[in-house]
């Protein structure tokens, strides 16, 4: 049996969400913030590695971003992934979800004979969760989103559980397919010292614009239907505070009186 190829799409995000706006430029101030692999993507990497324990498979990481995104790819290879591809080109910059999904789909075609594409549920910085379904559509493949469990159930078949708000679904897909995973489905492994060492011997390929078959009108800002027109920090609305005073018993009595006056109790 031919080994499977599992591609895991990952994104590098700032190490913290505590970002601020530069009052002068009105741009996001991300100075001094290191990049890490999007935490939800680690669940996807872990799931790929577990599937590779089940059946012979090559786990390939794929990311789009500047050259320093190679760090996240190394991190994933230190977890145990076999290879990494970074899609890095100025022409890709400023892409929204649609333009990002296009380049990633074209790269997956280029990798060739990919059986399964995995995504984390969403990136913790932009929080869209859109790129997975977009890539599934561009590849004309079935999609299973927010999978709560995932296993190979046949030579060319996966079975996943999906937890909707009110329903638990069991879905069976014939490969190739695209799956986005919930963070609840596994606990990502830590890189072992040996795997960290090995990760530097694994192939990390950088693909630029000319390495892929691309329609330039669909790239970067030009290929992005959406535009961010304003970025700001939300300001909670202030209210007039009535202080409750004295011992807890006294303060509780004041509150009960107030809540009764508002017919809240």
């Amino acid at each position: 049996m031919k080994p499977k190829t599992i591609v895991v799409c990952i994104k590098q995000v700032p190490e913290t969400n505590e970002v601020t706006i530069d009052p002068q430029t009105h741009n996001l101030d991300r100075r001094g913030l290191a990049g890490i692999m999007n935490p939800f993507d680690k669940n996807a990497v872990e799931q790929a590695l577990q599937l590779a324990d089940q059946t012979p498979a090559k786990v390939v990481l794929l990311s789009m971003g500047p050259d320093d995104y190679a760090e996240s790819l190394r991190e994933g290879m230190a977890m145990g992934a076999d290879a990494g591809y970074l899609l890095s080109d100025r022409a890709f910059a400023g892409a929204d979800t649609l333009a990002t999904g296009y380049v990633i789909a074209q790269a997956i075609k280029q990798i060739g004979e990919v059986d399964l594409v995995l995504f984390g549920r969403q990136a913790v910085d932009a929080d869209t969760g859109q790129v997975g379904p977009i890539v599934a559509e561009f590849l004309h493949q079935p999609q299973i989103t927010y999978a709560a469990s995932l296993r190979l159930s046949g030579d060319n078949e996966i079975t996943a559980e999906r937890l909707l708000e009110d329903t638990k679904q069991t879905l069976v897909a014939q490969l190739p397919a695209v799956v986005t995973v919930r963070s609840e489905l596994n606990t990502p492994r830590y890189p072992t010292p040996r795997n960290i060492q090995l990760s530097f011997e694994k192939p990390l390929t950088i693909w630029h614009h000319d390495d892929l078959d691309l329609d330039d009108s669909r790239l970067g800002q030009a290929g992005s239907p959406t535009i961010v027109t304003k970025v700001y920090e939300p300001k909670p609305t202030k209210r007039e505070l009535t202080s409750l005073t004295g011992t807890p018993t006294e303060a509780a009595s004041q509150l009960i009186k107030a809540l009764k006056a508002h017919q809240l109790i």
Binding site: L98, D127, K238, S253
Partner: protein
């Protein structure tokens, strides 16, 4: 010339319409004024009459696709059907609930239509016929206004409980429409079991007892649980407490979690990170108890007490009749 169309995709939850749909229909009416034609798009089985649940929110029109296959259709099959309707009616904008279902179908449709989709929006407005969608980023610490100037339809998913559903007067025109059902052969839904979940989510509760880092010990949580029961409400937590085994992200308020607007929220041991405050500031009455008198939560509270959370809750419980 006919008015541009503003669509709301009705979502089904078991045998009913998902509540976010009503919230979006209400917002759509407010946005539309007399400039837009508001349309609810409903997929239902031949014996269903879910339009009766939509009618109180009075969209101008309800377009109904009756086909027994749609209630259990997969994301790609839904997206395919919607793409056919878009080709036929050319709507200006389409709104989905940012539920798991909405967030799965909408981007698939976006990719078919090669247009823009803004995720998990917290506000919407129109500048002329351009939809301006407010999208949180960085765990709700940053807000972005996003437009899609040159592509139609403009699409957005909207976070549940962002808007309040209000019935309206008006009679929706009911229009049966047909689309071709194109089955996706390589994906089968083998089983679909209703999850019996009698507990409401924190987003549905009208009274919330919210706990943060300063109210995280077992005794305090137990007292808070009794208080929530007494109030007929529910416990909610800020992010640090989601690390405890007894809470999940479903219990979290703010930060890509639940935006809530209960009648009453009692905050214990919560200092008040921006995303938390934004997530609960629509509550009608806000009470805060914190041992730090400088905690930002007091800036947005109606009633505040500086002191120990557990002692205050115990005193409160003792005085309830």
């Amino acid at each position: 010339m006919s008015k541009p169309e503003l669509w709301v995709i009705a979502e089904r939850r078991l045998d009913h319409v998902e509540p976010t749909t009503f919230q979006l229909l209400t917002k759509a009416r407010q946005l539309a004024g007399d400039r837009f034609h508001t349309v609810a798009i409903l997929f239902e089985a031949t014996n269903d009459h879910l339009e009766t649940e939509l009618q109180p929110y009075a969209p101008d029109e309800i377009r109904i696709v009756r086909d027994d296959r749609f209630p259990t259709a997969t994301d790609a099959e839904h997206a395919d059907a919607l793409a056919q309707l878009v080709a036929q009616y050319q709507p200006n904008s389409i709104l989905f609930g940012a539920t798991i279902t909405g967030r799965s179908i909408a981007p698939r449709l976006q990719a078919k239509l090669l247009t823009g989709l803004t995720a998990d929006c917290l506000d919407l407005r129109f500048d002329d016929e351009t939809l301006v969608a407010t999208k949180p980023s960085y765990g709700d610490n940053i807000m972005c206004e996003i437009i899609c100037p040159d592509h139609r339809p403009q699409m957005a998913t909207v976070r549940p409980n962002t808007f309040v559903a209000e019935p309206a007067t008006g009679t929706a025109e009911l229009t049966p429409v047909t689309v071709a059902f194109h089955p996706v052969e390589r994906l089968q839904v083998k089983t679909a079991t209703p999850v019996v979940n009698t507990a409401t989510t924190v987003g549905d509760a009208s009274r919330v007892v919210a706990l943060g880092r300063g109210a995280a010990n077992t005794a305090t949580i137990d007292t808070a649980t009794r208080l929530a029961e007494k109030l007929g409400g529910r416990i909610g937590v800020s992010r640090p407490l989601t690390d405890l085994d007894r809470f999940t992200h479903d219990d979290q308020i703010g930060q890509s979690g639940n935006t809530i607007h209960p009648d009453l929220i009692l905050n214990f041991g919560i200092s008040g990170a921006v995303q938390y405050l934004v997530g609960m500031q629509s509550a009608k009455t806000i009470v805060a108890v914190n041992s730090d008198s400088n905690a930002p939560i007091f800036d947005v509270a109606d009633y505040g007490y500086v002191g120990d959370a557990n002692a205050f809750m115990t005193a409160l419980l003792a005085q309830f009749v």
